[in-house]
């Protein structure tokens, strides 16, 4: 009945690789390498992150085939589940079209990076070479017993033999987290302004305008958020466009906005003023985005 398990154990003790393991390796190994290459070569940052996820999942699966189930699932939960999710979160905040700057900020960075990279490669290759020739194969793991590769055995090692390095890395992580919080909140203690203070500031001219922003589409023919509000003179109220929608669609609709606001070349029935006057209307094209941004922050 337990012949299957026994066979697996004897095979592992003999240091041979079973067929199932070989098949799994030859699927997962190339997938992991492809993921690593894809991560470097992908143009889009989110695609890059996804390739890395593929590598991590393949590694987790390889751990599972090595009967290190705890390690495998911890890899999935911690690396793919938490860390890569954080990466994705930041990448999405950065926006889908943002690309890396190729300008070198640090002097000689590329040279140093190249040298260190080659050094690392040499190190890895020599280690790999040694592991292929003279390394004792570890005893097979039995994840069902606490002494084997299960959570119990790992816990005993971490909190026994390797307690000091473990505590050290924990301290490092906490210092990093506290440092990040300190840096991000270093702007002094900001108390929230009361409504009265805000009103006074508005009328002292510390804001761009005393009134709130015009609602999207309020004076326009549609009530969609993407439709700009029109000012009484028929021109577009630039602040009425949502910042997000502005960045996504304002470029595409530039001509339409021009047309509606009367800044386009043709005469427009909506405009109560001549096109020439419209071009000089307050909040010209160049400063639109900037003004909308600053208003958005304050609102």
């Amino acid at each position: 009945m337990s012949a299957v398990l026994a066979q697996a154990v004897t095979l592992a003790q003999g240091g041979e690789v079973s067929t199932g393991e070989a098949v799994a390796f030859w699927i997962l190994g190339p997938a992991a390498v492809a993921g690593a290459l894809g991560m470097i070569l992908a143009r889009n940052a989110v695609h890059s992150a996804l390739w890395l996820v593929l590598t991590m999942l393949s590694l987790a699966m390889i751990y599972l085939t090595q009967r290190a189930t705890f390690l495998g699932f911890t890899q999935i939960i911690v690396y793919t589940g938490a860390i890569m999710m954080l990466f994705l979160f930041v990448l999405m905040l950065a926006g889908r079209d943002s690309s890396d700057s190729v300008v070198e900020v640090l002097r000689g960075q590329r040279l140093a990076a190249g040298l260190l990279g080659i050094g690392l490669a040499v190190l890895v290759v020599t280690l790999l070479g040694r592991s292929l020739t003279d390394t004792q194969i570890a005893a097979p793991l039995d994840p069902y017993s606490p002494e084997g590769g299960g959570a119990g055995g790992l816990g005993r090692l971490i909190f026994g033999d390797f307690l000091f390095p473990f505590e050290l890395s924990a301290a490092l992580l906490i210092v990093a987290a506290v440092g990040a919080m300190l840096l991000s909140h270093s702007g002094g203690k900001k108390t929230k302004k009361t409504q009265r203070e805000l009103v006074e500031e508005r009328f002292r001219g510390q804001h761009d305008r005393p009134s709130p922003l015009p609602g999207p589409g309020v004076f326009a023919t549609a009530n969609s958020v993407a439709t700009p509000a029109l000012l009484p003179d028929g021109s577009v109220a630039p602040e009425s466009l949502s910042r997000i929608i502005d960045s996504a669609a304002a470029e595409e609709f530039r001509d339409e906005i021009r047309e509606v606001s009367g800044t386009g070349p043709e005469a427009d029935a909506h405009a109560l003023i001549t096109p020439a006057e419209g071009a000089e209307a307050p909040g010209g094209e160049g400063t639109d985005g900037q003004r909308a941004d600053s208003e958005g922050d304050k609102a």
């Binding site: 009945m1 299957v4 989110v46 705890f70 589940g81 905040l93 994840p143 299960g150």
Partner: protein, 446 residues
């Protein structure tokens, strides 16, 4: 021979029995689990609509099928034939992958749920469970962690602002609530001394962990609602704020897959909560005493398991019918400032108790006595603390319940000064200047 088989069976662990399942049995179990997930989704949608309808004094769906129970089946079929609209700004590959990523892990998590004890299927002895991994509890967590990628990527790949906001919310939500959830599970694991779901159920033979680890249970239930993006924590969808959140731009079968994943996830976490805290497939107390535990053998436990699972699913519907959606900052505050610290503190207590019990050779009675003595000492010490002298504020005005100052007992109502004889003249004057000024003039007189 048969007896010998039985004797052998006694020695075999759950994992060994399951590892010996023939291939046809494994396939049968997998297909049944998949069908169960799909049927539960159809059932849940209907049940939810009916229960929420009843809570709002309306009948809910009652047209298609007997009692309206085939409504969601009809909706599902219709959904499959709908036109698929893909936005031009979408990242097509990721857009296509996202619903799949979200659905597959949801079904994967089913595999480690122990539905029942040892039974015989077509003469083959097995457990009602697909696989018993030594780290079964982690499989559910890992599946949840991967499933969220579907939501996040779907929102991002749609290439439009609202889904992106939904995706961002979902990512932050999962990172925040997985921590509290993990701590709740770790407490259970410490008590069961195993990560295997089957062992966790066996460890609850003498008492459900819901009673033994009540704080963990509460934290798990709260965070499981957060993890599955259900009301009142359905911020990634938030119909009133984000249209449909991450699935705004999805239509047809891809949308149906997201829907399926959401409901299967609900079933999975409910089943997992049953396993961890409500004794899994064990019969509840008065039933477990019948006939020397006969209701804990054979196929009976499947009934208890599904009943307990439906209890959690009903709570989901109940929450949706009663609670408004939390604001995002409230939600984050609840996660990071309430659930995480409480679960950390509770975990330290649990770990301490476990350490004392395993190493110190201390019995439960001794722990209870020491605990009682400690509580008595704390209460006695609290009596020694001098009562805080509240400085009387001389200018403090007592306030009534509605916020108005309480009139003092010796209130002297000032007498109104006598009106002058010329009052008539001033009245005519106020009439001339307009009625509104009359009051002001009066005030000035007083």
């Amino acid at each position: 021979m048969n007896r010998m088989n039985m004797l052998l069976a006694q020695e075999q662990t759950r994992a060994e029995v399951l590892a010996d399942d023939p291939l046809w049995l494994v396939l049968l179990k997998a297909v049944v689990l998949f069908a169960f997930g799909v049927v539960m989704t159809l059932f849940m949608i209907n049940w939810e609509r009916k229960v929420v309808g009843r809570m709002q004094h309306r009948p809910g769906p009652n047209r298609n099928g007997p009692g309206g129970w085939l409504q969601s089946l009809a909706d599902g079929l219709k959904l499959a034939f709908k036109e698929e609209v893909i936005p031009t700004s979408a990242d097509r590959k990721v857009y296509w992958m996202a619903p799949v990523i979200s659905t597959i892990p949801a079904f994967t998590a089913f595999s480690v749920i122990p539905w029942g004890p040892e039974v015989s299927i077509f003469g083959e002895r097995t457990y009602l469970q697909l696989v018993d991994l030594p780290v079964g509890a982690l499989v559910v967590l890992a599946a949840a962690a991967i499933g969220v990628y579907g939501i996040v990527l779907g929102g991002w790949a749609s290439g439009s602002p609202y889904p992106l906001l939904g995706a961002l919310r979902s990512a932050a939500q999962v990172i925040s609530y997985e921590i509290a959830m993990g701590f709740a599970i770790v407490s259970v694991v410490l008590y069961a001394q195993s990560l295997s779901t089957g062992d966790i159920v066996d460890a609850q033979r003498n008492g459900w962990f819901a009673l033994l680890l009540l704080p963990s249970f509460i934290i798990y239930v709260v965070s499981m609602v957060g993890e599955t993006n259900r009301a009142p924590f359905d911020l990634p969808e938030a119909e009133s704020e984000l249209v449909g959140g991450f699935h705004t731009e999805y239509s047809s079968l891809k949308f149906a897959l997201f829907f399926l994943a959401e409901y299967v996830n609900m079933v999975v976490v409910s089943a997992f909560a049953t396993t961890l805290f409500l004794g899994g497939y064990m019969a509840p107390w008065p039933l477990s005493a019948i006939g020397d535990g006969v209701l804990n053998t054979g196929w009976w436990p499947l009934i208890w398991f599904i009943a307990k699972m439906l209890l959690f699913l009903f709570v989901y519907i109940w929450l949706r019918g009663t609670l408004p959606r939390l604001r995002y900052d409230q939600f984050m505050r609840l996660g990071w400032k309430v659930l995480v610290p409480i679960s950390l503190g509770w975990f330290v207590i649990v770990a301490g108790i476990r350490a004392i019990r395993t190493d110190g050779g201390v019995s439960t009675t001794q722990i209870l006595i020491v605990g009682a003595v400690a509580i008595v000492i704390i209460v006695l010490l609290s009596l020694l603390i001098p009562e805080k002298q509240v400085a009387e504020d001389a200018n403090k005005i007592p306030v009534t319940g509605s916020g108005y100052p309480v009139p003092p007992m010796d209130l002297q109502v000032p007498t109104k000064p006598r009106r002058k004889v010329s009052a008539g003249k001033s009245a005519t004057r106020s009439e001339l200047t307009g009625s509104t000024t009359g009051k002001e003039a009066d005030d000035g007189n007083v």
